[in-house]
């Protein structure tokens, strides 16, 4: 992977989203939660879209979700990913509500298949997954998901 090109694709770390990235580094999925109505949101935003409250806290989410859908990218759109095609992307509905784009850890890591994960194989709609955290080239830790058994469960 072209590490310099990849670094440019990463979101800037700002005062407002820093708790999310600190969570990733600590192996936790942290989401903003409205202090007034309790709605979770991702990415970070200045107000709650439900009640417009500006007041929110950062909470550790369960990391659980389900696969809403997926696709496999064959086209080379990003220089950073030119050597990776084809690669599979997933769209995960988090147990707390938000939907996120991600990848399956086992698609790039065959050892995950040994623990019961699905390696480059058929996925099912609404298949349960859980968040895992892997450092990427350049060192930033980003959330990925696994279809295998969650640690500690």
């Amino acid at each position: 992977m072209d590490v310099a090109a990849y670094a440019k694709l990463l979101p800037d770390i700002t005062p407002r989203n820093k708790p999310f990235w600190d969570g990733c580094a600590a192996g936790e999925l942290r989401l903003q939660k409205c202090a007034d109505c309790g709605r979770y949101r991702f990415p970070d935003a200045p107000v709650c879209p439900e009640c417009l409250s500006s007041s929110a806290s950062w909470e550790t989410a369960s990391g659980a979700g389900t696969i809403w859908s997926w696709c496999t990218m064959h086209q080379k759109y990003f220089a950073a990913f030119a050597d990776e095609v084809p690669y599979r992307l997933v769209y995960v509905r988090l147990a707390e509500g938000p939907l996120v784009i991600s990848v399956l850890a086992e698609d790039s890591d065959d050892s995950a298949a040994d623990s019961g994960g699905t390696s480059s194989k058929e996925l099912r709609l609404d298949q349960p997954v859980h968040a895992v955290f892997r450092p990427r080239p350049g060192g930033r830790v980003i959330p990925q998901f696994s279809t295998g058994a969650a640690a500690g469960m």
Binding site: L10, C71, L89, L99, I142
Partner: protein, 376 residues
């Protein structure tokens, strides 16, 4: 009080085939726009002095107005260069005419997306989009492919479910002298088309090209004194479904149903009375979502419905008679408006729908819009 009736009286569009053939240097969007505008004026027998409302999409009214000597309109507005704006553009023109804010409105669109190398994926991500780009996720087509993957799994649509749409668009393109692609394709050619964002193939994608489209809108009363038979806007409706993702969890179904209900009620015309459909097809699955949301085909069953002889020329509801965005050219919805007018006037040549009295435009996107046009 009855609302003032509104009509499209003039249309103009580029020769998309000629433009596609030459990408040696970037085309000037203002030249393309000016030529389409001139053609639209000629088409209805109007001049710049008749135009008192100007709605530009993907170009700027200031430079356009100066280029074509339209320097004193009573109302101007620039719309962003996205496909969802085609329907909005006509809706705004109708609202201006109905309210009396303007008497005759020009809607003008131009792009040089092909020769200028515009990227529809992999470009600079916006702040929210960076959370997708960091995984290599980009391009509207990839988001549509995820909706389609889920649709296929939910409703059992096979690998070749979109083939009838790809084949139909090409068959129609073969009858349209300005279409970029005029060679018909068969089922095997469809299935051998390479994947872009699997499950979507190259033949499921619109054709990025250069070109321009213009149409002129005025009151039906005034339209009847102009050069050609007016095409009345029987009704138009729209509803947004805004989020940071292009993915709608129900494939825009509920939003489309809401638009359809208002549209059919206002027009007093239902899907059974539509003679010809112009369906926004940035990517072919969008047509399935549209047919279902607008009540033309059963929910989850449009992929079977399109195999039953409805959509071809000669069928009960011919679809994308110009070849659509995958064969004529990707003009972000605008050229469908021109095709609707040409069909209703009987000007569509080899691809003319017989006894064509009603045409429906539909665009399923983060702003769902639809119009019903009728021959006056």
């Amino acid at each position: 009080m009855a609302m003032k009736d509104v009509a499209i009286v003039g249309v103009g569009s580029s020769d998309f085939r000629r433009l596609y053939a030459d990408k040696s240097q970037p085309n000037d969007v203002y030249q393309l726009a000016a030529e389409a505008f001139r053609d639209a004026l000629d088409d209805c027998g109007a001049t710049q002095q008749d135009i008192d409302g100007l709605i530009c999409t993907n170009i700027k009214y200031g430079q356009f107005g100066e280029t074509v000597g339209l320097t004193g309109p009573g109302f101007v507005h620039d719309l962003e260069g996205t496909g969802r704006m085609a329907g909005i553009s006509l809706q705004e023109a109708c609202a201006l005419v109905r309210s009396g804010m303007a008497d005759m409105v020009a809607c003008v669109y131009a792009t040089n997306g092909r020769t200028a190398g515009t990227k529809y994926g992999g470009g600079d991500a916006d702040p929210a989009g960076a959370y997708d780009a960091m995984y290599g996720m980009t391009s509207t087509g990839a988001y549509v492919s995820m909706m389609y993957q889920r649709y296929q799994a939910m409703y059992g649509a096979p690998d070749d479910a979109l083939a009838p749409l790809a084949i139909n668009n090409r068959a129609n393109g073969a009858r349209n002298p300005i279409a970029v692609f005029q060679k018909e394709i068969d089922h095997d050619e469809y299935l051998s088309s390479r994947f872009i964002a699997e499950p979507l193939r190259l033949l499921d994608y619109c054709i990025i090209n250069d070109g321009a489209v213009a149409f002129i809108v005025t009151s039906l009363d005034r339209a009847r004194d102009m050069r050609k038979k007016p095409v009345r806007v029987a009704a138009t409706a729209g509803k947004a479904e805004l989020s940071r993702s292009y993915i709608s969890p129900d494939f825009y179904f509920e939003t489309s149903v809401a638009v359809a209900d208002r549209l059919y009620q206002a027009a007093g015309i239902g899907p059974d009375q539509i003679d010809c459909m112009q369906v926004y097809d940035n990517f072919l699955p969008t047509i399935l979502f549209t047919l279902e949301g607008f009540g033309h085909a059963p929910r989850g069953g449009s992929w079977e419905w399109i195999r039953d002889g409805w959509i071809e020329l000669g069928g009960k509801r011919p679809l994308n008679t110009s070849g659509g965005h995958t064969s004529e050219s990707y003009m972000q919805g605008f050229a469908f408006h021109v095709e609707a007018v040409r069909q209703l006037r009987g000007e569509a040549g080899d691809r003319q729908v017989e006894n064509c009295n009603t045409v429906q435009y539909m665009c399923v996107s983060p702003i769902v819009t639809s119009h019903i046009f009728v021959a006056d």
